[in-house]
Structure formats: C-alpha cells, structure tokens
Amino acid sequence: MAEIDYLQALNQAMDEELARDETLTIFGEDVGGVKGGVFNATQGLAQKYGDERVFNSPLSEAEIAGLAIGLGVTGHHAVAEFQFADYILPATNQIISEASRMRYRTQGDWTAPVVFRAPYGGGVGGGFYHSQSTEKVFMGQPGLRIVTPSTVRDAKGLLKSAIRCEDPVLFYEHKRLYHSIKADIDPDEEILTPIDKAQVLREGDDLTVMSYGMTLQYVLQAAEALAKKGISTEVVDIRSLYPLDKATIVAAAKKTGKVLLVNEDNQQGGILGEISAIINESALFDLDAPIQRLAGPDTPAMPYAKNLEKAFLVQPDDVQAVMEKLAQF
C-alpha cells in the first residue's frame, strides 16, 4: 500500500494502460516532453513510452479532439487532454458532431473509443476561464459518456475503465481534488470502476444528498457533522454524469424522501436539473420535500477577486446548513 493523491492516481492509471494497451496514445498541450502537463498528470510518461505515444500537440483543441477520433476510428485508443475544461469549447463540434455520432451513424462500423480529459472547477484563483464547470455543455449528447471521479480510488479506476471503454468518454477532473484528497492504494491491484454507475458513499435514513466533485467533499464532511447530531445522511456520488444511473438515483431518493442535489456549477441548466426531473418522474409520491438544489448562482462562473470567487462557490457551511434544514423539513 502507498498513499497517493488524486493526481497520482490519474498518472498511475495512464501509466498502467499505456503498458497494457500498445495502441494507446496520450497527447495534448504540454502533455509530452519533460513537463508532462501543466498539472503534471502525464509526468514521466513521454520518457517511459516514447514521443510517438505521448506527445505535445499544437495549441488547437479541435485538432486535439479530431486527432483522437481519427486514431479511434482506426482502432487506436487515445487519451486527449484539454489543458482546462474551459478550453474544451473550441472542440465542441468535433466532440458532438464526430465523436458522439460516429458509432450510431455507421451502426458500429466505425467507432471513437477515446477519452477526453478535462480539469475543471474553481476555487483556484483562475477567474472565468480557468475555473468553469463545462460538463453541462455536453450533457444530453447520446453516444457520449461524461464521468467524473470524486475519490482517489475512482480517479484511478474510472480513468482505466474510460480508456478501455469503446465509447467516447469525457473525463472531468476537479482541479482542487488533485492534491487535496489522498488514499492508500495498492499499486499492484487492478482497479476498474464501472463507468455507468453512481455510487452510494454513505448510507443514511433521514435525507439523501447527491453530488460530485469538490462539493461532494463538503457533503461528506457535513454528513459526518450531522451524524453527531443524530441525523443520518445517504450520500450519493453521481459519478456518471451522462448517461445518468437512474436506478441508483431513484432508489436513493425513495429511501429518505428528502433530496438535496449539490454542485459547483450554476443552478440553472446543469446536471442537477436533469436529476431532479428523473426523480420527479419516478419517485414523486415518495417525496416529503421539494427536491432542492444547492449550486452556484446564475452568473458567469467565476470572478477572480477573492471575495467574489468565494461568494460564487458553494461553501462547506452552506452545505451543512441546507442539509440540516432539509432534515428538519
């Protein structure tokens, strides 16, 4: 066993898959060479696997995406890194029109088994363009999967599964988790996390809270605090943002009848709205309270000034306060 952080878990996942799958290539801006990515996620990989398999791309996101897809159609798995999830936007057309449609439009003759990694999330002093949650832009594009790990174990296992998956997978990584969460991971254990399942991280009876990313950490802390006050919380790590794992979501909602959904993104138009709609459709008469969303305000995410950044971000105290209030509803 060795304690590693979320970023190291990602690096291990890619290292192991490069060793296992000779077709696999990994590239993106500053991903190759000695730098190994601006967050160092690919550090050491170019040296170990050569510049043909792990390399720098020019500064062009549509090309990064299309290069991956073109490798995919010829049977090569690829991991393409977008330097920040904000910079995935120039590649939107490639991801939606090409990657997400390839299998369906040829009924499986051609496929795009590629992973697009995208570091997302705020609280890093990055202002609008180094902080955003852009996952909602790609929500509801059948053929595409969107996943995000919120534990160290999943960072490793989910990335390995995404690489092995024959579908295109958008892989979101919360930047503030890179070094803030750590876990003991046996380097010899082959970890594969299901890419199609939400995960119940904590069982409880009084209320159900679903989240992902940084805010999920706050939910777990609050659940712990509430437990001391005798309130028992069911905590769901949504994990597969699209398609959603309806069964796990609905079961967890029914279990307590009080549901809180939390994410860092704006309140309107994101993943949480869809989850709320699914619960309403399948569990309306089990609900004891309106499904609540705790999320960022509906303003552009997020200003640079420290006080505004903080005001934009859902804070740990907010999470606990809302949970407590919902439990008492």
Binding site: G72, W110, P194
Partner: protein
C-alpha cells in the same frame, strides 16, 4: 492544352477502366437527379464537372491499403475507391444495407468500412482533424499507408481545416489534403470566400508542399497526385493540392443556381464539361472506339436499371434499430460496467 491521357503513363486497359467508371458515375448521377425529381428519393448532391479530377486523384492511390475521408461531392471518387452503383443507390434510398450509414445519414455522405473509407459528417471540414488521426495511426502501425481527405474550397475557411493542416505539417504526416475548388460555396463566389491568390499558397503556411492542378485535365491531375502519394509513402510528409474544377449543376437538389449565376456563365461552364473533353481524348487516343462507347453506354444504362431496382426493393432499417448502437454493447466481465 489538356495533356494526352496516355502521357499519364497508365496503360490503355487502366484508362479504359477509369473512363468506364467516370462515365458510369455521370450516368448514375443523372439517374439520381431523376429519382430525386420524381420524388423517389429526397436529396442529391451532384458532382458533375469534378469527376475527371476525382478519378485522376483516386487512380494515384493504393485503395487496398490507403484510407480515404471524402466529402459529399465525391461520388466518382468513392466509386473509383470501390463503391458499387448499388451501394450509392442504397444510400440514396436510405436503405439498411447502404454501406455509408445504413440509412442513418443523408445521401452523399460516403463511407464504407470494408473500403477504408471513413464516415463523414455534414459539418464541413470536420473530417480534416480526423484525417490527421487516421494518418498518425499509420505511423503507430509502421505502415506506409497514405490518408486522403477532400473538401470544397469554401470549407477551407473553417478553423478545423487550419488546425489539421498545422498539425500535419508539424508531424510530417503521410496525408494528402485536397481542395476540390469549384469556385462556389453554394451561392458564394470564391472572392467572397478567400483572398489568397491560390489556395495552394496555404501549403507554405503549414510547412507543407502546396500544389495547384487543373482538375479538368486527367493526366496533369494524376501525375500531381502520383508525386504527392510517393512523397507521403516515403516519409516526405503531407501535400496540399488545390484542384481546380467546375460545378456544372446546382449546389444540391435544394438549390437553384440560375438565381445567382448568369446564363452566360452557365453556358461557358457547360462548354468546359471535362467529360466531353475526355471522351474526345479517349476516341482520339484510340482508347475506345465510338462503337465501343455506344456499347458502354448501353451496358451502363442496364447496370443502373438493375441497381436501381435492387436498391429500391431493399428494406429500410428496422424501426427497432432506432435505439441500437448508441453505445458499445456492454460486454460482461470486463470490469468496466456495473
């Protein structure tokens, strides 16, 4: 001005085959127009005026191993790459057996797994980044295969065109990028599309060889591609070819070019029809006699009739398949599904 066909260095037999394929494509296109006009199909893109250039282009490749990412006006090229009349008609009728998309896409969005012809979207130029990935795969596999990708001149204004060529230059990819320049993007004439003297000048912008070629001249076009393919196959990198052609007909069956092109312009175009030129050359150079050509016309007509009947009778996709192949089938036991 047009070079002799036999100066291409291709044999008489090869030139016979190619001419036959070109004529078939022209006649098939005429049938497709008829089918659309009579409401039997709903859409067609005609490539008339671009066939000679397309045929000369494909003749330079090894279609057994090379890859092709075509665009919607490439019916002739697709047929020379191995697609049958029936294939084309199946796609036109939106039939399940259509190789391009099994009835999923509009006609003229060519693709075929068994021919290494990669499926294309309607979003113009989006095949260019893909083509760089296909080309890069050859390097990973230590294969000397070459990747061909085409588009119209209007579509070169897209950012994705630029991003792909830039990477191809950096990575010295074994790829050939072709602009089928018919000087119109729907109704927009090329001086409203770009201001470069020639689009071949964009080669230098990417450290790629840029070549201009008269796509109405079979031999000139063939030789330009032959050279480009040889360079790509031997590691000398990519080539950008600006192939000047003409668009004889409307943009698509939804368009009416008489609105934006004058009668005089259209008449001048018609006089330049490269099929007429080539037919003349075929006769002059004794590749076919007139009698053989007459037989050929008859044989093609028959083939088209048979293929049309077969394609029309072929089944539509099964409605239940609407929800199939959205995602890969979930294999059990591989650990990646819950």
């Amino acid at each position: 001005m047009t070079a002799q066909l036999l100066d291409s260095g291709l044999s008489k037999t090869t030139l016979q085959t190619i001419y036959k394929q070109i004529l078939s494509a022209r006649r098939l296109d005429e049938r497709l127009i008829q089918l659309q006009r009579t409401g039997k199909t709903s859409f067609n893109v005609s490539g008339q005026g671009q066939e000679i250039g397309q045929a000369a282009m494909v003749a330079a490749f090894d279609i057994k191993k090379d890859y092709f990412l075509p665009y919607y006006r490439d019916m002739t090229a697709f047929m020379l790459w191995g697609a049958t009349m029936k294939d084309i008609l199946l796609d036109s009728f939106g039939r399940a057996e259509g190789p391009s998309s099994h009835g999923r896409q509009m006609p003229n969005h060519y693709g075929a797994k068994h021919l290494n012809v990669v499926s294309q979207a309607s979003t113009v130029a989006s095949q260019f980044p893909l083509a760089t990935g296909v080309a890069y795969s050859a390097r990973l596999e230590h294969s000397d295969r070459v990747t061909l990708v085409t588009t119209g001149e209007g579509s070169t204004a897209e950012g994705e065109f630029h991003e792909a060529l830039n990477f191809a230059g950096v990575a010295k990819l074994p790829a050939i990028f072709v602009i089928e320049n018919n000087h119109y993007a729907i109704s927009t004439p090329s001086d409203e599309e770009y201001a470069a003297k020639s689009l071949a000048d964009r080669g230098a912008a990417y450290g790629i060889k840029g070549v201009d070629v008269d796509g109405l001249d079979f031999t000139a076009t063939y030789l330009a591609f032959k050279d480009a393919v040889a360079r790509a196959r031997t590691g000398a990198g990519a080539t950008l070819i600006n192939m000047n052609v003409i668009r004889l007909l409307d943009h698509t069956s939804d368009d009416n070019q008489r609105i934006y092109r004058s009668k005089a312009e259209l008449a001048a175009l018609k006089a330049k029809d490269p099929l007429k030129t080539m037919t003349q050359q075929v006769l002059t150079e004794d590749i076919y006699t007139q009698a053989e050509l007459d037989d050929l016309e008859a044989a093609i007509k028959k083939q088209i009739n048979v293929a049309t009947d077969q394609a029309e009778a072929a089944p539509l996709p099964d409605v239940a398949s609407l929800t199939e192949q959205v995602y890969a089938p979930k294999e059990k036991g591989n650990g990646i599904y819950g």
